[in-house]
């Protein structure tokens, strides 16, 4: 079973290890586990990515569709997030079991992305008031091994970076109407600009110290955690306290500082990887699950 259970002494062992800056998998408090990212893995999507962080495994598929814009923002496109927890990850997700977690994660994603600077939605507009691109980001959780939020946000950024929106032509038709035509070549696409897309960093307070990228065992020992959306330049686009416990107000600025630094480093490594992935030939064999 995927459910983790820890005894009292095991918890103490983990907490004491963290006080001494030595976690039970050998990491220090500010180390991430090994991350594997691959883009363009699902061929019938406009963009996709697969991510493995420790033992958390995710697949993100992005599809773009034509739709009508929000009347409040007629020039902009729309972006929707949907998270799906597969029972492959945990038998408790069977049926409607995973819906709470899904709703929670998609809310946080929507919150950090509903920010003018995150993704320029004007580039997704086509004809004001009438037509725009609707971007559907579907996250599929295949294995839960702790720190799902950070993993989801990294995978979403990678998938959006990989997303090609067809280059649409708008021509003036009869009587002031406008007509749109799709390009014949499926490779005639414009990639979404993800320079300012944020990633989430979860900082968990364990005992008197805080750690990043908590494994599922460490998540059981932590009192409370702070989730923040951090952009490439280290700006926070959203923040939320998670977990049952409480936080000491004095420790919060410290945690935010750590989150910003870690977020910046994460962006640097991710951007480097995405650049090489994009530069590689189309026909390169994807590892996927093989």
């Amino acid at each position: 079973m995927a459910k983790v259970m820890l005894g009292e002494s095991e918890k103490w062992f983990i907490i004491h290890g963290i006080q001494d800056d030595m976690r039970n998998d050998g990491r220090s408090c500010e180390d991430y586990r090994h991350i594997e990212v691959e883009t363009g893995v699902v061929s019938n999507t406009h963009g996709s990515s697969r991510l493995r962080l420790g033992s958390s495994e995710l697949l993100v598929g992005v599809k773009v569709e034509l739709g009508s814009p929000d009347p409040k923002a007629p020039n902009e496109g729309l972006i929707h997030f949907h998270v799906d927890c597969s029972p492959n990850a945990d038998p408790s997700f069977q049926g409607r079991g995973g819906e709470d977690l899904s709703a929670n994660i998609s809310c946080i994603l929507t919150r950090i992305y509903c920010n003018k600077s995150s993704i320029d939605l004007n580039t997704l507009g086509i004809i004001p008031h009438k037509q725009c691109w609707v971007v559907h980001v579907d996250v599929l959780i295949l294995e839960c091994g702790g720190n799902l939020l950070d993993a989801v946000s990294i995978a979403v950024k990678a998938a959006l970076h990989n997303t090609g929106v067809p280059n649409i032509q708008v021509t003036d038709g009869d009587e002031g109407t406008q007509e749109i035509s799709l390009p014949d070549d499926p490779n005639d696409v414009k990639f979404i600009n993800t320079v300012n897309a944020p990633v989430l960093v979860t900082i968990s307070k364990v005992g008197s110290r805080h750690v990043v990228d908590a494994s599922s065992e460490e998540e059981l020992c932590c009192n409370a955690s702070l989730v923040m959306g951090v952009t490439k330049r280290g700006r926070t686009t959203g923040m939320r306290k998670m977990g049952g416990g409480s936080l000491d107000p004095e420790s919060i600025p410290e945690m935010i500082e750590t989150g910003k630094n870690i977020g910046r480093q994460l962006h640097i490594s991710l951007d480097k990887l995405l650049k090489t992935e994009q530069g590689m030939a189309e026909d390169i064999e994807k590892a996927g699950y093989l």
Binding site: N44, L59, H82, N88, L140, G288
Partner: protein
């Protein structure tokens, strides 16, 4: 339109009795008791097995004293088909598919060896391009082997369709849409027993034998691929080198 050209080839360039490329992997997840991944052409399925374990709370009523019960859930990713479709878990198609797969494996797993327990089979479709049932059964077989659950034999499934008196095996989505009769079956190749068969559409009774033969041959071909994979993984580690990042 015609499903086979005058030269005798199908849309994707296959011959009528040719399978799509089958690729598979076992043990893709660490937390599940058994897991497998299979690709049949563009149809891609992940399977995970949990169990045999004590029945979970909401399924106490299904416990059998003399054998285990099999719990199955089939789900499709939102982005798996060409058109994005919102699918809620446990919709009619999913329930139907789960029931079929459950029935198939109840016949193949030696359930009497695990009294009062439960075995979960979870299937997740990542990319759908026809013959979903077959890919799911083949993936679940591999995952059950990975979980070390006793079975009477492998279970291999294959689909077929009939056009112009020729049977096409392992049909893809386009061929499914063409509206010809579709026959799927799961067999135990070494025992030579059919444990599941389903026919959608109408064919002449005389043609059924031909269709069954085509499907049986297809299943045996799949068995050959899966069985060879088993041997490879027993001897050597398959090296996978995904690009990775450290931070």
């Amino acid at each position: 339109f015609e499903l086979i050209s005058d030269e005798g080839y199908r849309f994707d360039g296959r011959k009528p009795s040719e399978l799509r490329r089958v690729r598979c992997n076992m043990g893709v997840f660490t937390q599940a008791d058994g897991s497998a991944y299979i690709e049949q052409g563009n149809t891609k399925v992940l399977a995970a097995i949990y169990g045999p374990h004590e029945a979970s709370n909401n399924m106490r009523s299904r416990v059998c004293l003399d054998k285990c019960f099999i719990n199955c859930e089939f789900s499709q990713a939102m982005f798996s088909s060409a058109e994005r479709k919102k699918r809620s878990r446990g919709d009619r198609k999913g329930k139907d598919m789960s029931a079929h797969i459950k029935q198939t494996f109840e016949a193949a797993v030696r359930t009497q060896l695990y009294p009062r327990s439960q075995i979960d089979i979870y299937l997740q479709v990542l990319h759908s391009d026809g013959s979903l049932y077959c890919a799911c059964v083949n993936a679940a077989t591999l995952a059950l082997i990975d979980a070390g659950i006793a079975m009477k034999d492998y279970v291999c499934a294959c689909s077929a369709s009939l056009t112009k008196e020729t049977s096409l095996i392992d049909i893809n989505h386009v061929e499914e849409l063409a509206g010809c009769a579709e026959f799927s079956a799961a067999i135990m190749p070494k025992l030579d027993q059919i444990i599941y068969s389903e026919l959608n559409g109408r064919i002449h009774q005389d043609e059924l034998g031909q269709l069954v033969d085509a499907v049986t041959n297809g299943c045996k071909d799949i068995f050959a691929v899966i069985d060879r994979f088993e041997v490879i993984t027993d001897n050597t580690e398959i090296a996978v080198s995904p690009r990775s990042l450290h931070s």
